[in-house]
Amino acid sequence: MSSTSCPALVDLFQQPLPESIESHVATCARCQALLRTQRERLSASSEQPETAELVRGTDVGPATIVLVAAADSDEILTAVVAKVGDEAVTVVPVSERVALAGEWDLLLDRDILGYEAMAELWNYGQVLPEQLVDVVAELSPEGWNEFTTLLRAVVAGGERPTRSHVGAVIIAGTDPRLMFQDEESERMRPYLEPNLALAGVATLGQLVAHRREELGLAADELEQVSLQRGWVEELERDALDIERVLQPTSLAALMKRLRIGASERLGQIAYTTIEAFRGQQGLHPGLAHFRQRRGYSGQPQGRDTARYVSEFLKELEKE
């Protein structure tokens, strides 16, 4: 089964089928069934997908409502920003299914987003700053106050404050809204994955070992990104001269195989790993220069590593 979503029906029945849809259909019983039974085919202009242009949210801050992208999804998540950290942004997803609101869903008036919605405080999580596509609205000071009070209660496992703008309490395991909450947790998952993949990881070796195990990939599958063989095991021990063995394009291809997107944090991890290895070899320019190139203060040293990491990230950003 393919992991991508099925295309819109109006796109599924266009002629000729774009390559991206054709490859999906090849693995999708649903779309095959629909196509086979369809006698009336409509011709529609074939559109080449364009790369979505991410707008970096420069005004992201607590109380803003943002749009969050995920690499594995063509759908965007609307979310309230709860906290902006150095490496991750804590967000609370928003849903329009207000009829299913529970006691930890804060109801948002229509004038905030243009439609009635609710902030699912129980479903909060962290995303990378690079996933933020746009800032679309902001909670009022009163709304933000209520939001933070409720979120604190969720995080601390405390009691819900009375007089909140929330849904009816869930009091039994038979409540069908629990099923909806399961679905919402799952909907949130692809947006959290980029941050989770990097959580607790200090080096590229740890990152590759962890993701390889998680995705069930064999070492030789990953080694196809380069002409050389036998380097994954060394990489996972952080004993590989990465710059010598892997071109930036190869390292980017490796990350794509591991479903890891470009981010500042990944750049820092890559830089630290390469510098640590160089240090072991007697060359130790330090982290300072990379930080300066990426907007941090520090002494300009180790230009080659910084350039390598920049090229690697640029390559990874490409579709």
Partner: protein, 326 residues
């Protein structure tokens, strides 16, 4: 529409503009779905799909949901590509048609509720009132209970949700205003369960408020109903084979790839644990997907035999594709 234009439209609509190309795109989604016969026949305003029917459902979708509830902005916020926009628009249209159906058929509920209280010995009148919606009723077996005195209706709603799942609406091909939101047995189970859980007498007005919210029916103006309500025991015809086949295909279009995969694997006798491992999701998700498939089919079936027939059609469609693939 291209992806870049989608991003522009998101901002334009948020500023209150309504560019013509977005309206044209939405209209084209409806027309194509109608021409492709990918909506269940029961949704056709006059029983058949044609351009007039397409225009009519576009008009109600656009006016009531996309503009009326602000969901045009929601679609634009959620889609990152033009293809995703069309897919989400299709889902929105389908949901609109289902909700509109729910609400049009909800008008019978009040009449049925009052009728049930007055005719069924399991219920006893606690306090009379001039208007039927203001009379207090309780369970006969607990005739000494007091009237519910709570201020927060969310308490009642919590109790209603705690009653679990109900089989909501069974559409039939000729359904007009006669199909119940809840079948007779289910309505009674709901009311008895609610009275038991609350442990107090309730009025039809309170129960209707809870029904409206629990089943997302919108506000029901029960004042206008009563004596004029149509006979609920109207007969129905089993939908024709062609209509069933179209309905089956429309259900396949509505279901996700994973839901059909779960259906297929369930039929093959695969365990839920194994399915969860194979499809990289939780056991709860598999159970949810099984329920969703069941709900989608049940909603379009009037009788058990129709349900079986639809399930057979869907299996044939999907397994044939699977065999072709293998």
């Amino acid at each position: 529409m291209r992806d870049r234009r989608l991003h522009e439209l998101r901002k334009l609509v948020r500023r209150g503009e309504l560019p013509e190309d977005i309206v044209a795109e939405l209209r084209s989604v409806v027309r194509k779905l109608v021409r492709l016969r990918l909506l269940p026949p029961v949704f056709a305003p006059y029983g058949q799909w044609n351009e007039e029917a397409a225009d009519e459902i576009f008009s109600s979708w656009y006016t009531d949901r996309l503009l009326g509830r602000g969901h045009l902005q929601l679609l634009l916020d959620r889609a990152s590509t033009a293809g995703a926009f069309r897919r989400i628009a299709e889902q929105s249209l389908r949901q609109h048609l289902l909700n509109a159906r729910d609400r049009s058929q909800a008008q019978n509920l009040f009449h049925r509720l009052v009728g049930m209280f007055e005719s069924d010995n399991e219920f006893a009148l606690v306090r009379d009132a001039n208007r039927p919606q203001d009379r207090w009723w309780c369970l006969t077996q607990a005739a000494d209970t007091s009237e519910w005195g709570g201020q927060d209706e969310r308490v009642l709603l919590s109790e209603a949700w705690a009653l679990g799942e109900f089989a909501v609406i069974r559409y039939r091909a000729d359904a007009k205003k006669l199909s119940p939101v809840l079948e007779v047995d289910e309505l009674k189970r709901f009311v008895v369960g609610l009275l038991e859980r609350v442990g107090a007498a309730l009025t039809p007005r309170l129960i209707m408020r809870v029904l409206e919210q629990r089943f997302d029916l919108g506000e029901i103006s029960y004042e206008e109903l009563g004596a004029g309500a149509e006979d609920l025991e109207a007969t129905s015809d089993v939908a024709g084979e062609l209509a069933l086949a179209e309905t089956g295909r429309a259900i396949v279009a509505q279901l996700s790839q994973r839901q059909l995969e779960v259906l297929h694997r369930s039929d093959s006798g695969e365990t839920i644990d194994h399915m969860a491992a194979s499809l990289d999701c939780s056991v709860g998700t598999i159970v949810n997907e099984q329920r969703r498939v069941g709900e989608a089919i049940t909603r379009m079936s009037e009788t058990d035999s129709e349900r079986e027939a639809l399930l057979r059609i869907i299996r044939d469609l999907v397994y044939e594709a699977d065999e072709g693939h293998e």
